[in-house]
């Protein structure tokens, strides 16, 4: 028995275990990948792969935060507004108030964390449903970013700021690097800390978690801060790439992030799923868009095809899970 356990243990801590749990969605991804390579000769090129990575960064950052939120059984509809606010704040500070870019970025991140904390506070202390709270703050925060920018793009010419999201590390886009770093940090946070366990426990059974002495309010509070922070960062990176603060960015980002999580196998009711799954979910979503654009599918038909592929991908995953 012990022997067997030991085998399982190796299994578990190794990265392979993630692969195992996510075998279904990985399979779906591989299918999609092969399909894409067949359909477009450009798909496999290094440049295009980097392009896909760069494109999914914003969504992936939001989705990582969203993963924590959904794991606790919540939802965060305000991520898109956080993106907008952080992007606008940074550019306004840099362009209008000559704040150094790095400081401006830090301030915007702090703002993201603060508004995230506001979400967390209302949800835990005022005991209100996350859906409606974050729907409301989604409006409020977007309103704020419209107000501070007057609704128009903020032009920026700071070279450093442009590099933050637009630069390259060797041949790899810097934003893809951020994504990988964020993934690793979040992975450690979720899998290697008490907090991570508390997130799972809280989402699976709030009462039981409370009875076990877990401060569930604190756990929930923290995940919203995390989500605010990550989506604020996503907004900063995107603004840097857009070379301007755009109050309208991030519209619909919440649906994309949630979809990536769920495609990646995060249970909507909380408590189960892996961050690796979310990453694959993001890649699937990004690859679908890239493929359809590469092939040059008509934008109306794209909608239909995208919908069908998403269903197919999740179905492959659902089938495999039922087999275990």
């Amino acid at each position: 028995m012990n022997n067997k356990n030991n085998r399982f243990y190796r299994y578990r801590i190794n990265f392979i275990s993630s692969l195992k749990i996510n075998a279904g969605i990985l399979l779906a991804f591989v299918c999609l990948f092969v399909l894409a390579s067949v359909l477009s000769s450009k798909f496999l090129s290094f440049d295009n792969q980097m392009n896909v990575l760069r494109t999914i960064t914003t969504n992936a950052l939001c989705a990582f935060g969203m993963t924590f939120v959904i794991l606790t059984g919540g939802i965060d509809l305000s991520v898109g507004s956080f993106m907008s606010l952080a992007g606008c704040l940074t550019t306004v500070l840099v362009a209008w108030f000559q704040v150094p870019a790095i400081l401006a970025v830090l301030l915007a991140l702090v703002a993201g964390a603060l508004f995230g904390a506001m979400n967390g506070f209302i949800i835990t202390k005022m005991k209100m449903p996350p859906f409606i709270v974050t729907l409301a703050t989604m409006n409020i925060i977007r309103g704020i970013s419209y107000i501070i920018t007057g609704g128009r793009p903020v032009l920026i010419s700071d070279k450093l700021f442009q590099k933050i999201g637009g630069g390259f590390l060797g041949k790899i886009p810097i934003s893809a690097v951020y994504m990988m770093i964020a993934f690793l940090l979040m992975w450690v946070l979720l899998n290697r800390t008490k907090f991570g366990r508390h997130v799972y426990a809280t989402g699976d059974n709030l009462t039981a978690a409370e009875y076990s002495g877990i401060d569930t309010d604190r756990t929930i509070f923290l995940v919203y801060i995390l989500s605010g922070l990550l989506s604020a960062f996503a907004g900063i990176v995107l603004s840097s790439r857009l070379n301007s603060g755009q109050p309208i960015i991030g519209q619909g980002a919440e649906l994309d992030a949630i979809a990536s999580c769920i495609v990646g196998g995060i249970s909507v009711t909380g408590g189960s799923g892996t961050l690796f799954g979310t990453l694959i979910g993001c890649m699937i979503m990004g690859t679908i868009s890239n493929l359809l654009n590469l092939v040059g599918v008509d934008s109306f038909v794209q909608l239909v095809v995208k919908g069908i592929i998403i269903i197919a991908a999740v179905y492959v995953d659902a089938m495999r899970k039922r087999k275990i």
């Binding site: 440049d47 392009n51 494109t55 128009r152 442009q162 790439r241 301007s244 654009n293 590469l294 934008s299």
Partner: protein, 335 residues
């Protein structure tokens, strides 16, 4: 040129072999390198090129006409057209451009929804030797930067201005109340509203009741805003809406309330349903843009540079708008 400083951002890989000035000669070699594309153009001496286009939104009739114009020119040249949809989203616009670049198209026509957002991507494209022309939205790019072959835009300001003049004329010195439905986050809409207001700035008899925008920018919200205005104001003589769909929503709301008669409704775009409404006397006038012209001119410019020629005309072209009211609406209906 002065843009060399920013090339660093695109990384050393790209800057090694491409100075922006040289970029425009490169594409010919580039497409010959690529065997994949030429396989199906059997026997033809000229290789089939791929030309990309990003439009603001496939669901906007204006953009659909733009797309048609673009396709017609590409077809004429016997090339393949790839049209992608940014759906009003600057982030998506950028990823569409990236996808076109990754696909190694020969030329791109950008109909942007924002004057800043696509610039980074356009630079990347230029670095790779892709010829880019901009249309419809005046991008924040100077000619010297050498990344765009041309900019071709509508005179949005004039669109609003013409409507304003018409309103002043019809008011004929009488006391009139008007409303403006605007869309502050869109530069083109802001210009139109500005034009309208400037045109009537010297008319003390015209009173602005309120300026506001639908929230969110959906048809339902436009309808609801006009509905509320009808409740709120007893005397509404004129509504200026930033584009035709909004103007049409105003028409529907006014009609349902039985207040359409005697109320002037202006829009900008020249969409077919608006022109129809004008011919039926429901709507007052619209400033018709010429998206087909925008597309054709910019695509032709792009082709000239692609073929090593110089563009004909100025780097920046403003395509005039056509003012349509009940007198000339019929002419445009038959098209």
């Amino acid at each position: 040129g002065c843009s060399s400083g920013s090339d660093g951002a695109a990384g050393d890989a790209a800057s090694k072999d491409s100075a922006p000035a040289a970029a425009q000669q490169e594409p010919a070699d580039d497409s010959s390198k690529d065997g994949g594309k030429s396989t199906d153009s059997a026997g033809d001496a000229k290789e089939k090129r791929t030309i990309g286009c990003v439009i603001i939104s496939g669901t906007n009739p204006h953009c659909q006409i733009f797309e048609e114009g673009f396709r017609s020119v590409v077809e004429e040249n016997g090339d393949e057209a790839v049209v992608l949809d940014a759906d009003y989203d600057p982030g998506k616009l950028m990823s569409c451009l990236s996808d076109l670049i990754a696909q190694n198209v020969d030329g791109i026509v950008v109909e942007s929804c924002d004057n800043q957002a696509p610039i980074q991507s356009i630079k990347e494209a230029a670095d790779k030797g892709i010829v880019v022309a901009a249309a419809d939205m005046l991008l924040d790019v100077k000619e010297e930067e050498n990344i765009l072959v041309s900019q071709t835009v509508s005179d949005n300001y004039d669109g609003g201005y013409q409507c304003g003049l018409d309103f002043a004329k019809r008011a004929n010195g009488e006391e009139k109340n008007y409303l403006i439905m605007d869309f502050e986050t869109n530069t083109a809409a802001v210009e139109r509203v500005q034009g309208f207001q400037d045109a009537i700035a010297d008319q003390p008899n015209l009173h602005l009741l309120e300026t506001n925008q639908p929230n969110p920018e959906t048809l339902e919200a436009k309808l609801a805003l006009m509905d509320t205005w009808i409740q709120k104001y007893d005397k509404i003589d004129c509504v200026f809406a930033y584009h035709d769909p909004a103007a049409m929503a105003c028409v529907q709301a006014l009609e349902a309330a039985g207040k359409l008669k005697g109320t002037l409704v202006y829009g900008v775009d020249g969409n077919i349903d608006a022109i129809q409404a004008i011919s039926e006397g429901k709507m007052t006038a619209t400033a018709k843009q010429q998206p087909d012209q925008l597309a054709i001119l910019s695509t032709k410019n792009m082709y000239r540079v692609l073929n090593g020629e110089a563009i004909d005309g100025d780097w920046l072209t403003k395509v005039p708008i056509i003012f349509i009211d009940e007198t000339n609406a019929k002419e445009f209906l038959d098209e």
